[in-house]
Symmetry: C2
């Protein structure tokens, strides 16, 4: 199989972790006789520094022309502490999601038995958890009109959804539920928000097409609670952009660390694969970042973008075996981990490769 893969390292630890994602792709290509060619492009703070634009045209063109994109991370504290900054790294990520029509963000909460202890949740609460989040990614309050009045006494963001936006991701989520445990939980705030009431109506309608899947509707506040209380009860979780952002980060604690979670953004064209962790500038360039989420993003790419299930499984297994052998990065180590089992980014990447 011949594929063009675009690597966008982005900001902070993005560079370090995508390096390992790329090496894993190269190893897979060799082992299974594929031809993966690579290109690289800039985005985020890195791109603002170089060009003034968080998503340069050249990056967008390369993205559209590629078969899949491996992304690192985005963001920089400089902008976070300056609420008045007009140009921001995150605009690059939001724009590429919109331009590529990446409306469905899949975030599997994959639990490695070896990491049960790394979580702050009790092992007996965690064991057996297997959740697949479908987060809508190109609508909601993220993309609605923003306003600030002249004298800075008022600001607003429009939260909004079109019916077709809810329909298309709902179908994708139900299709996935069918191949899993046949339970779908749609999360909204329909007791308060009109947007959520439209969301719930659409899900109720489409649910009728999937009588074999058990549907539940849950308010976001309750879902945020149930995820801690009893994560096992969830199978597929379907939700809007903002609620999905919050719930999936919360759920990262189920997997022990954000450093373990990968995501796939899919939609109309080229798929986009990224860890859910951020740019973590505090540890950038120190060989401390956990490369496993980037490597697991590669597994999602192989599976979802290229349909290479065996190759995807091989990558996931390599991660599982590395963990089984006791190797940890700092974020997933616990008090009992022997110091000589704690690895840097590069050593961990190399372990998985071998």
């Amino acid at each position: 199989m011949k594929k063009n893969i675009l690597i966008i390292p982005g900001d902070g630890i993005g560079q370090e972790v995508t390096t390992w994602g790329k090496q894993v792709l190269e190893t897979v290509a060799q082992a299974y006789g594929h031809e993966f060619s690579f290109d690289e492009a800039i985005m985020g703070h890195t791109a603002i520094e170089a060009t003034g634009n968080p998503l340069p045209d050249e990056t967008l063109e390369k993205a559209k022309a590629s078969d899949a994109i491996l992304f690192g991370a985005i963001g920089h504290a400089k902008y976070d502490n300056d609420p008045s900054a007009k140009v921001r790294p995150e605009q690059g990520l939001l724009k590429i999601r919109k331009e590529l029509g990446l409306y469905a963000n899949l975030r599997p909460i994959l639990l490695f038995d070896e990491l049960l202890d790394a979580s702050s949740l009790k092992p007996e609460v965690l064991r057996g958890t297997d959740i697949l989040f479908f987060r809508e990614l190109t609508g909601d309050v993220y993309f609605g009109e923003k306003n600030r009045n002249e004298d800075n006494t008022f600001a607003s963001d429009l939260m909004n959804y079109h019916r077709y936006e809810v329909e298309r991701i709902t179908r994708k989520a139900y299709d996935a539920a069918r191949t899993r445990n046949k339970r779908l939980c749609s999360v909204d705030k329909a007791n308060v928000l009109e947007t959520s009431r439209l969301w719930r109506e659409v899900v109720q309608e489409i649910a009728k097409e999937y009588p074999d899947v058990e549907t539940e509707h849950m308010f976001i506040d309750n879902a945020a609670m149930q995820l801690v209380k009893n994560p096992k009860k969830f199978d597929v979780v379907l939700t809007a952009n903002l609620f999905g952002d919050i719930l999936t980060d919360e759920a990262s604690q189920i997997a022990g660390s954000m450093g373990m979670l990968a995501s796939a953004s899919i939609g109309d064209g080229t798929g986009f694969f990224e860890p859910i962790h951020g740019s973590a500038h505090d540890i950038a360039g120190q060989n401390k970042a956990n490369p496993l989420a980037s490597i697991l993003s590669v597994a999602l790419m192989l599976d979802i973008a290229f349909g290479l299930q065996d190759e995807a499984k091989a990558v996931t297994n390599a991660v599982a075996e590395t963990l089984k052998a006791g190797w940890r990065t700092g974020d997933i180590a616990n008090a009992e981990t022997a110091a000589d089992k704690i690895l840097g980014t590069n050593e961990m990447g190399a372990k998985v490769l071998s």
Copy 2:
């Protein structure tokens, strides 16, 4: 001290739990020589059934005339599953918050040592946690303009904040931080939302007036994660209406159960005291609900509305001692709780009273 207290049981388990809140108030009045007089009013589903209006004028008038309000719970599944319902129980709660100017919702996460085991989080993660949430309560996407187009293909809610709305709750939160561990974490999504950028600007400005308090800004996705990962790191958490709704429910798992958490809504006039749990129709009328959140709401009322610190402490201590003696309702029992220590609503209420 002479006080008029309005009881609004609301829906579901609201009736059962406020009954015990009221009895605790009566006992306190007797023991400390106060004169508390009580009135009752309807709201929510109960009020819709009786009058067609989730907040009848009579209830609002009584509320305004009272010195403090003890509220139960609101909501009914009937409306949740009918996204097109025009009249909804929750409108009553939102309207009374707005009409009474209850812009600051205080939710203390009070951890009873005896309940460390009832949580899904590990005891070592929990121990020492003591968080006070300040949730803004009369602004945000809760009260912004709602729209639905004619052919039901589009819906929107306006998320918005005025500067003065952010200022007044921020000052209250800083004042509280001063009397506690002098750390304030403001939670927003300033990398995406204009509303959050205004929020952050205002908090940054007011922070200068409180140089003795350490200020941190955190994105909501990160906060949802940190709350599970390391709840101890928080002291005062300040946030907007929607984010506060989500975070405080999530945080209820730190306290072992929603059945343990009380809240105080304060602002321009009469204070409003309520458990954070909902109407829980599935267990309503079965003598199963945990009355402790309602009883702890009474402690908040005594403290915040009436300035009766000793009386408030007596109530909190009575709850702590009941737990220490091993008594539990179903929601806070764990596998090791002896069956004969598990009480119904009324038995638990009576234990606390005695």
